[in-house]
């Protein structure tokens, strides 16, 4: 690329980056403010204090909630990575009867708002005695149509002749899937991991209904305790929300390298 285009690219990215990060910085800065200073239209704190963080960690079960969220997010992410990849691959690369209607059926599960699933789920959990367990928090996220669709789309970009070659080499279908196909969609796999982790980390609507013991609250449910009837403790909300982003950023950092690595070893004989 020419030097001038590169400079323009960096300038554009800097502007975009600033807009992207500004509200986040505001949140961080509010979490460092104190007293009525949090209620000011200015992003710069008058006095910086870490007191809000201390209060969040000392006066609430923050660490416990953090752990619960971590357990839920990690287990669902592993489960989704396994099942969604497998199912997405089947829909993209394997011939079978009823493919289109089954795919539409799966896709249709995204078309009903979670809000309307809460009551049936609650009734179900209640009659099976699942309430107040990790299982009740986990089960809605074990696989997702979101991921199946994503993996289907990315497996569609994998050339058939590569799979055919593996088949001739004598691999069975699971082997072809795992050894040949999966490495070719690593970028998508990483994206799926990030977004599944994040989605379950932030889940609120269902967990708040599913559990009624504070010791099994997830982080978003626990944070809701800072919002009250007549006022919200915004200083604590901001501190807790800032803390809550840390693991997601770590997960992102870990996975994003995979995204950019892309597929060097395409196995394509160009």
């Amino acid at each position: 690329m020419r030097r001038s285009t590169k400079v323009i690219a960096y300038i554009v990215l800097a502007v975009v980056g600033f807009i992207m990060i500004f509200p986040f910085l505001w949140m961080l800065s509010t979490s460092l403010k104190t007293g009525v200073d949090i209620y000011s239209p200015s992003i710069i704190p008058k006095k910086i204090t870490f007191n809000n963080y201390v209060r969040v960690i000392e006066n609430s079960n923050f660490l416990l909630w953090f752990k619960n969220s971590l357990v839920v997010a990690v287990i669902t992410t592993v489960s989704v990575l396994f099942f969604d990849t497998l199912v997405g691959y089947s829909f993209a690369k394997l011939p079978f009867k009823g493919k289109t209607p089954l795919f539409i059926l799966i896709l249709s599960t995204l078309m009903i708002p979670t809000e309307m699933l809460i009551i049936p789920w609650y009734m179900m959990c209640n009659s099976y005695g699942w309430l107040n367990s990790y299982w009740s928090l986990l089960f809605p996220g074990l696989t997702s149509a979101f991921g199946i669709f994503l993996m289907r789309q990315f497996f569609m970009g994998v050339p058939d002749d590569v799979l055919e070659a593996a088949r001739i080499d004598g691999l069975n279908e699971f082997g072809i899937f795992l050894i040949t196909a999966v490495p070719m969609v690593k970028p998508a796999l990483s994206a799926l991991g990030i977004f599944t982790f994040l989605g379950n980390w932030n889940a609120f609507l269902w967990p708040v209904i599913a559990v009624d013991q504070p010791n099994i609250y997830t982080l978003p449910v626990g944070l809701a305790l800072f919002s009250g009837e007549s006022y919200n403790q915004w200083d604590l909300v901001m501190a807790a929300a800032s803390l809550a982003t840390i693991p997601v950023l770590i997960v992102f950092f870990f996975f994003q390298k995979q995204i950019i690595e892309g597929i060097h070893m395409t196995g394509l004989k160009a």
Binding site: G35, Y39, I104, I119, V221, S227, E229, Y231
Partner: protein, 443 residues
């Protein structure tokens, strides 16, 4: 091809749901849940029983309730009370989910405005006449409690209530040459002071609000019943079936007075500093109408704010305030020994001693009349105005609190944003609230 599949799926779905509909429709008719103490089995005194109490999370309430429960259990060794609490924002959802699944608490803490819905659905049992007769309630409790008398019956009873007071910022008063110890006493004075205290900068940006104006906050509660009554109009008919906000010229006048604060006098603005309480806490509002629960957040967030609290301004010689409360009811889950235990716990929660503790620790005012004369409690000069208004405060009957509030907010928005004639806006609001009431009372 795709079309065919789609239509097949749709037809399939409709068939399944129709079948399911038929299956369900035989319905589990509820065996008249409203009769008190569904069981005739007398509870023997040595039978162990556990009851569940639900409330929303409010740290000091949850902590105090733990203490009260410990004390109660000591006095009643056979009864165990389990407290469960939920984030405020999700409380209604949680309760509804549990009740629709056939579970939930034995005693439930509800906002008074939600009670009619729970009564109509048969979730609550009538309070027993032996402990809570209508006569006794009306004689000993603050008059606002009567708002929840439905068809002559009481289903819930509060420990404590709130009233509205007028907060004023003494520093802003002093800076504008007003006596910082003399808050406005009448509506006329209120408007006069508010105009004087409002400040705009050179560019026409609002800097200090004279009087906060937040329809979603306490403004709607100030309008009905307080302003309406002061302008000579009862907000709702005595049988609680007819909305009367616009039943006389007084009603229209009250509404015009309210919207003109923002439209003509421009003493306050919606969402200034995001909301009314924030504006006042930040020292950007001179006068602000709010409940006693605000004292707590002012103390923790703005300990240096130099402010006072007084009773709501009077008008036409009418002194009144808006009262609201969280109240406790016994659900149909509690039967037999559980029911008896629940009644005992309610008696404990509504004793004068509990009320005094509650007032001191929570800042809500004990619901019985005698609290209003308690010299100990009146010593707190910030709390005193709220307590003093206990005998004159009135509640307002909602069947759907949010819909009712929304109707009024919409009326105000129509006037302020769309320049609709206030009379027409009020008429439309009344129409929509009336249809909610009609819906509630039919069948």
């Amino acid at each position: 091809m795709k079309k065919k599949i789609l239509s097949l799926i749709l037809v399939g779905l409709m068939v399944v749901s129709l079948l399911a509909a038929c299956g369900n429709n035989g319905g589990t008719q509820q065996p008249s849940g409203n009769t008190p103490g569904n069981s005739s089995a007398p509870s023997t005194s040595d039978e162990k029983v556990t009851i569940e109490y639900w409330q929303y999370f409010y740290e000091s309430k949850v902590n105090l309730m733990d203490e009260l429960i410990a004390d109660f259990q000591q006095k009643n060794p056979n009864i165990t009370v389990v407290q469960k609490h939920f984030p405020y924002d999700s409380y209604q959802q949680k309760v509804a989910a549990a009740i629709s699944a056939g579970t939930g608490p034995d005693i439930i803490n509800l906002y008074y405005g939600w009670v009619p819905k729970y009564v109509k659905s048969g979730t609550l049992q009538e309070l027993p006449a032996s402990s809570f007769s209508a006569e006794m309630i009306e004689k000993t409790f603050a008059p606002m409690v009567e708002v929840n008398k439905i068809d002559g019956k009481y289903y819930t009873i509060p420990t404590a209530v709130r009233t509205l007071g007028l907060f004023w910022n003494k520093d802003i008063f002093a800076a504008n040459g007003l006596d910082p110890e003399k808050p406005p006493k009448t509506l006329e004075e209120l408007v006069e002071y508010a105009k004087l205290l409002t400040k705009y900068d050179a560019n026409g940006n609002l800097e200090i609000e004279g009087l906060t104006f937040q329809p979603s906050g306490q403004l709607h509660a100030w309008f009905r019943p307080v302003l309406l009554k002061q302008f000579g109009q009862e907000p709702i008919s005595a049988d609680k079936r007819t909305v009367q906000w616009n039943a006389s010229e007084g009603g229209y006048k009250a509404f015009e007075f309210l919207v003109n604060l923002a439209k003509v006098d421009k003493v306050g603005e919606k969402d200034f500093y995001t909301d009314d309480a924030t504006a006042f806490i930040s020292g950007k509002a001179a006068l602000h109408i709010d409940g006693s629960y605000r004292l707590g957040s002012l103390k923790s967030q703005a300990p240096d704010l130099n402010y006072g609290v007084t009773v709501l301004p009077s008008y036409n010689g009418v002194e009144t305030s808006f009262g609201s409360f969280w109240t406790n009811g016994i659900t149909t889950n509690a039967t037999g020994a559980k029911y008896d235990a629940a009644v005992k716990f309610l008696e404990y929660l509504t004793s004068v001693e509990t009320m005094k503790t509650w007032t001191e620790k929570i800042g809500e005012i004990g619901a019985k009349n005698e609290i209003a004369n308690d010299p100990e409690l009146l010593k707190d000069e910030k709390l005193a105005p709220f307590i003093e208004q206990l005998p004159i405060a009135d509640s307002y009957f909602y069947v759907d609190e949010d819909a009712d509030r929304k109707a009024l907010m919409d009326a105000i928005d129509k006037v302020l944003l769309n320049d609709v004639d206030p009379r027409q806006a009020l008429d439309e609001a009344v129409k929509s609230v009336q249809s909610i009431l009609d819906d509630y009372w039919k069948n």
